[in-house]
């Protein structure tokens, strides 16, 4: 074999070996080092998160005897989403106690579907103006966490003339029979 051919062959073989070792040995090794380094950082972060979570949980556990009874009371302020009967009964009882009628309509869409933590009840009632106001006060200061979204009050005595109505307003407005429509936002348990 000629010297030149020997040189070229050796050169070719060496270059080939170098390229193959870079492709199949050095590069995968480098990628492994990179991945291991990233995993190490991620694991460290995860450990820190878990430690922090454990600390917070431990703190909560230690303070639970203080929080516990109040948490139960707070929990009762929220209406059970699956069973809002207690709240409806509360509305009806309060309205009945004040000689007012009550008609409640439930929301069409479930809060679970809309991912809300409240439901809005449409409540309509007929009674004297003062009783309706008392009803609102009682509901607001009641055991449930609510917010009045909307309130519409209109005259219920249709047979009265305009003049008589004006006279009644100045004389005894609180005894007038009115119809009230309330949108009550009730916060629910998650």
């Amino acid at each position: 074999m000629e010297t030149n051919t020997k040189i070229y062959t050796t050169l070719f073989v060496l270059i080939l070996i170098s390229l193959l070792s870079v492709m199949f040995l050095i590069w995968p090794l480098f990628e492994d080092i990179k991945k291991s380094s990233e995993n190490l950082i991620l694991t460290k972060d995860n450990i820190a998160v878990l430690k922090e979570q454990a600390l917070k949980t431990e703190n909560f556990e230690n303070n639970y005897p203080i929080y516990g009874p109040n948490l139960q009371k707070i929990d009762q302020m929220f209406v059970d989403l699956n069973n809002p009967v207690d709240f409806i009964e509360f509305l009806e009882t309060t309205a009945a106690g004040l000689q007012a009628t009550s008609q409640i309509s439930l929301p069409r869409s479930s809060p679970k579907q809309t991912n809300q933590n409240f439901i809005i009840f449409q409540f309509s009632s007929k009674g004297s103006f003062s009783n309706i106001l008392s009803f609102i006060k009682e509901v607001e200061s009641g055991p449930y966490l609510i917010e009045l979204e909307n309130l519409t009050i209109q005259n219920f005595q249709e047979n009265q003339t305009q003049a008589a109505s004006k006279k009644n307003i100045s004389k005894d407005y609180s005894a007038r029979q009115v119809e009230a429509v309330l949108a009550i936002k009730v916060f629910t348990q998650k």
């Binding site: 972060d45 922090e52 909560f60 200061s141 055991p143």
Partner: protein, 81 residues
């Protein structure tokens, strides 16, 4: 066509000269490669081992914790009734 062959021949000649030059200075070439390897190894070690080891853990995920403010607000609301 001749033009391309001439360019190819010139390139081959250049490569031959370069390889010949490297062969003549094999000692310095090996020394350079060894130094390059040391620097590259050092860089990889620094970036992927030393810095990863020194990395200060960061709390990036959401931690479930007791919302004390909400608790106090709700308690105040309860006491106000």
């Amino acid at each position: 066509m001749n033009f391309i062959i001439n360019i190819f021949k010139a390139l081959l000649l250049k490569i031959k000269k370069t390889v010949w030059f490297l062969g003549l200075n094999a000692f310095w070439l090996i020394l350079f490669i060894v130094l390059f390897e040391i620097v590259l190894g050092g860089f990889i070690f620094y970036k992927y081992a030393f810095l990863a080891e020194k990395h200060r853990p960061q709390i990036t995920g959401s931690i479930i914790e007791f919302n004390d403010k909400a608790y106090r607000d709700a308690l105040n609301e309860l006491q106000a009734r």
